[in-house]
Amino acid sequence: MDAVTEVTTFDLRTDSLRDVNAALHAPGLEGEFVIAHPAGAHNVAVGIDAPVKLTVEGHVGYYAAGMNQQAEVTIDGNAGTGVAENMMSGTVWVKGNASQSAGATAHGGLLVIEGNAAARCGISMKGVDIVVGGDVGHMSAFMAQAGRLVIRGDTGDALGDSVYEARIYLRGTAASLGADCVAKPMRPEHHEELGRLLKAAGFEHDDTGDYTRYGSARNLYHFHVDHAGSY
């Protein structure tokens, strides 16, 4: 006989967000949780550090699942500004679209956005993997330091402006590239890496050959003394 997993359900029409987040911060937490009726609330499920499964049933506001560690969080709706910002590990999966600054500064884990992400997706990302099912807005991967950003659609202007060592895989077209961001060849290890990311995000039927890799030309890395007057 299979073990029956008990699911704990919170309802944000009646439970205060502070109480719900506090309950999700309990030491030694495990199991499955549901948050119903978020109605666009901010800060839903921030700061979890436990190997739990959590489903949020509806649209969320700013910073949902921010600073996540270990947890598998599914948002069955759209997410506002800064979903999974500063995530360290675990998974945040958005079934709808995400607003600006998705995955900002995140150090680890996987962020999947099945729909589109708005401006500044992956801004200053520091090791997270982000897979976007649709398009991303302008200034995505701005100053991205580490991690991988996979975009199955197109991008707005200035993709990868001032990018450091993050790798960007783009299937569609970039409206324009930002400063110091260039296309680079797809070597076997890149096909392999991209294939793993697509599989993890449920897009395993994509042909990695349809993607272009973008990254830093590394021209902004060094102070050129000859140009001192320009700085």
Partner: protein
């Protein structure tokens, strides 16, 4: 911050609920700014009876009888005065321009909050929930409404600094953000003969758009001119008697969410402002792209 909301109803069955829905949207945005608030309501048959000229005034001295008598005397026609919080709403069986001229003559120090057929503009200083109660907004009807909750940055917390800015006939503008070069543009508009009520940056945007519309441009062209002329951060909602338009600056850091169903189009700074609208669970929901003008007409 600041919060902005707008609701453009397509299904007349919802007209009786406009005020109730707008109240919920506005109050949900209170914690984006709660030093002042304002709304524009298009089409409440009690406040702004069809066919009558309408003028909304703030900072006008006197009781309703004396205000009515003074404006009626200049106009040569009876003027109805309704008190809604700090706003005095004047209506008469003349066009709004004639009523506005008479009101300015009778009360030269009053602040004109808005004017035009079917339009009531209510604003004040204080907490949005308290203000909406003082206006009786939840009982208002109509086909379109916009609202603003203010966190002041560019000018003082006064009724003249509160949004909406309704400076052209039947027009209304609300703004989240700040214009950087408003002083320069205000000087240019003043040199061209445009008069201002405040030192507020948004008023410059509203007067710029009103001047373009008065020259015969459509709202889309006027807003593209604004994008080309103004520097700064903005999400703008611009309404007219029959239309409703949204535009964001090129950086698009000021938030905006649009939702659309067969029954209505709604815009809010955040989704939570829209979460109480009937049928929102089946709405198409998206964020407006930078420097793209989105417009709907009745």
């Amino acid at each position: 911050m600041c919060g902005i909301v707008g609701l453009h109803l397509r299904n007349p069955a919802l007209y009786p609920r406009l005020g109730e829905l707008l109240t919920g949207m506005l109050c949900e945005m209170s914690n984006r700014g709660s030093d002042s608030a304002g709304v524009a309501v298009y089409g409440d048959p009690g406040w702004t009876p069809p066919g009558r000229g309408c003028v909304s005034l703030l900072e006008v001295d006197g009781d309703t009888e004396s205000i009515s008598a003074a404006v009626s005397s200049v106009l040569g026609a009876p003027v109805q005065v309704t008190v809604l919080g700090d706003t005095h709403l004047l209506t008469a069986d003349v066009d709004s321009a004639a009523l506005l001229a008479a009101a300015k003559t009778a009360h030269p120090d009053a602040l004109v909050a808005g004017f035009g057929a079917d339009l009531a503009v209510l604003k004040g200083v204080g907490d949005p929930a308290t203000l909406t109660r003082s206006w009786g907004l939840a009982g208002a009807q109509g086909w379109q409404g916009v609202g603003h909750t203010r966190m002041a940055t560019e000018s003082a917390v006064t009724p003249s600094g509160a949004h909406p800015y309704a400076v052209g006939p039947e027009q209304c503008l609300v703004h989240n953000g700040s214009f950087a070069n408003h002083a320069t543009i205000r000087r240019e508009l003043r040199a061209a003969g445009v008069q201002f009520d405040s030192e507020n940056d948004t008023e410059v945007g509203a007067r710029f758009v009103a001047a373009r519309l008065a020259e015969g441009r459509d709202v889309e062209t006027a807003l593209k001119d604004l994008c080309a002329t103004f520097d700064g951060f903005y999400t703008l909602l611009v309404s007219n008697r029959d239309s409703f338009a949204v535009v964001r600056d090129a950086i698009a850091c000021k938030p905006a969410v649009i939702a659309e169903t067969a029954d209505w189009v709604a815009m809010g700074s955040e989704y939570r402002a829209l979460s109480g609208l009937p049928g929102v669970e089946h709405a198409a929901i998206w964020e407006p792209e930078p420097e793209v003008v989105y417009a709907w007409t009745r």
